[in-house]
């Protein structure tokens, strides 16, 4: 193997592990916690929007924040941004209290609200000028570079922009100053699939550079593709916080088997690591509950015509969490 090839393999391996290192528990201990929420509680009168939420987001992580509508996602984001004051508990960003040190911390923070509304008279240039003046640096060049990548033209005022264009402008304002922490509330809503893909790649690259991305989304495939870790809130409480890989392992895989003859499909018993969901003619539809190696070993000695092992179904796990709430109601 040539030296160039070895170097390339090494580089690819390094990049892969740089992205994944934050998900390894031991490695995470050495990285800074960018967001730490401790017993975070928010009440609006009698209604408790968030109840004793404990959360920590490590530097360089892409952190997905999931939950059904009204679960407390936006409230959490607003507490992180110090738009709301916690009723109890605290949020720290970069080790400092978010409420006390808000303005200084926001220098390192980029935010895209879920329900983005911008000043109707602003154009891209004016936005960049004003935000640049507010942040004390010239953001025009970096802003136009992002605008080009997102295919957003200058000269159109917000009032004449489509929803997608506004979303792009909001993203530019959140990303333009290269913040160390990005808080994005459903960032891909109103973006076309091409732009969604660009954004995912961009966020991954930012995370690889050490930035932390905290984002809420309803698109589970996007979370699966992009996130290192995921937290799920339900009715104001954190019900899960795990790495996507752990969730994936727990998710189980759908397995489809086709027997050579129907009699075999009817007479052969399912092994303990396969949960038989449906039997139709020669076909079995099962859920793999054990390791893939056991399945391969078992299948090798069986008269099978076809065997399909589907990827882990994370959506089923999320749905399971969401549905528990509906059942409780």
């Amino acid at each position: 193997m040539g030296t160039l090839a070895r170097v390339m393999i090494h580089a690819v391996t390094c990049l892969f592990f740089a992205n994944r290192i934050a998900t390894i528990p031991v490695a995470r201990k050495f990285l800074m916690n960018v967001i730490v929420a401790e017993n975070l509680t928010k009440r609006y009168g009698r209604h408790t929007a968030l109840r004793r939420l404990n959360l920590s987001v490590t530097e360089g992580t892409v952190f997905g924040f999931l939950g059904p509508n009204g679960a407390g996602k936006t409230t959490t984001i607003r507490l992180i941004l110090a738009l709301l004051r916690p009723t109890a508990g605290s949020v720290a960003l970069f080790g400092k209290d978010a409420w006390q040190c808000g303005p200084n911390l926001r220098q390192e923070l980029g935010y895209l609200p879920g329900d983005l509304r911008l000043y109707s008279w602003m154009t891209l240039r004016r936005c960049l000028q004003i935000v640049g003046q507010t942040r004390g640096r010239n953001l025009l060049a970096a802003g136009f570079e992002l605008a080009e990548a997102l295919s957003l033209e200058d000269g159109v005022s917000v009032r004449n922009m489509s929803r997608g264009m506004r979303q792009k402008l909001g993203l530019i304002l959140a990303l333009v100053h290269k913040p160390k922490l990005l808080v994005l509330d459903e960032p891909t809503s109103a973006l076309d699939p091409l732009m969604q893909r660009w954004l995912n790649r961009h966020l991954r690259a930012r995370a690889a550079d050490g930035a932390t991305v905290f984002f809420s989304s309803h698109t589970l495939s996007e979370v699966e593709e992009l996130c290192d870790r995921v937290a799920i809130v339900r009715a104001g409480e954190l019900v899960a916080e795990e790495s996507v890989d752990t969730l994936r392992q727990r998710a189980g895989r759908q397995v489809n088997l086709r027997w050579h003859e129907q009699t075999q499909a009817e007479s052969i018993p399912a092994p303990p690591f396969l949960r038989l969901d449906e039997r139709a003619g020669r076909n079995w539809s099962c859920m793999l509950t054990g390791p893939v190696s056991d399945l391969i070993q078992w299948a090798a000695g069986k008269p099978l015509d076809d065997l399909i092992v589907n990827p882990p179904d994370l959506e089923a796990v999320f749905r399971n969490y969401y549905e528990q709430e509906r059942d409780a109601e």
Binding site: L83, L84, R85, Y111, L118, W121, R135
Partner: protein, 271 residues
Amino acid sequence: MNLGLIHKSLRETLWVTLLCGTAVMVFEAFLAYIFNTFEWDLAEQWLQSDFFQSIIKSLLGTEFNGQIGLGAIGSIAWVHPVLLALLWAHAITICTRVPAGEIDRGTIDVLLSLPVSRWRIYLCETIVWLTGGLLAIAMALLGCKIGHLFISSAEPPEWGRLLMVSANLFLLYSAVGGLALLISSLSDRRGRSVAVVFAVVLVSFFLNFLTQLWEPARSLSFLGVLHYYRPYIILRDGIWPWRDISVLACATVALWTTGGIIFSRRDVCTV
């Protein structure tokens, strides 16, 4: 102070200020011209009637003792409801922008995600508001000057005394703006804030009327903001109204500070 925020606020309030300033200037020029041209006709025909005497007394907030001179006529231009309405509308429009206006239009989340403290946002709004108010009142003086340019025989106004009136008017404007900032800080809806402040100044205006027309109401006159603005006396005596200025300045500072404290501590987000 933050340049970006000032830039944004100026961009959003420039037209309101220019429109209001121009209207004030045209109106003052018109009044200066009318009062100086038709002064004695007015005095002889209208002001002899008890009804008009009462109206003028109520507007100026003082007794004439039958002497209706150029000063009294001229001072009407500085207490005319149109002038007050224009200036108050300007103060209320600008001072209800943050936070109520920003919450109402949903832009507060973006604004508060910038690396500036709420106090700084409040201060920038205050600078833009007070600068706009100064400009509008300067335009009123300019209007007065323009009105006099068209009258060759008119007695020139005493600019020193007019400056005193302007200072008093500016503090009156500030007090109303301070109240608007306080109400805005307490509210999530701009329309509601405007309605509350408008109701308060309207009550204050009618209280001023009432106290001049109805003896038992006199004891309540100190509650109205116009009790501390008496241009007729300033133009007549040429003495700085220190008591009135102090009361209005204290009220402004108290209202502004309370508004700022509330804004800096409350939950603020799009609703």
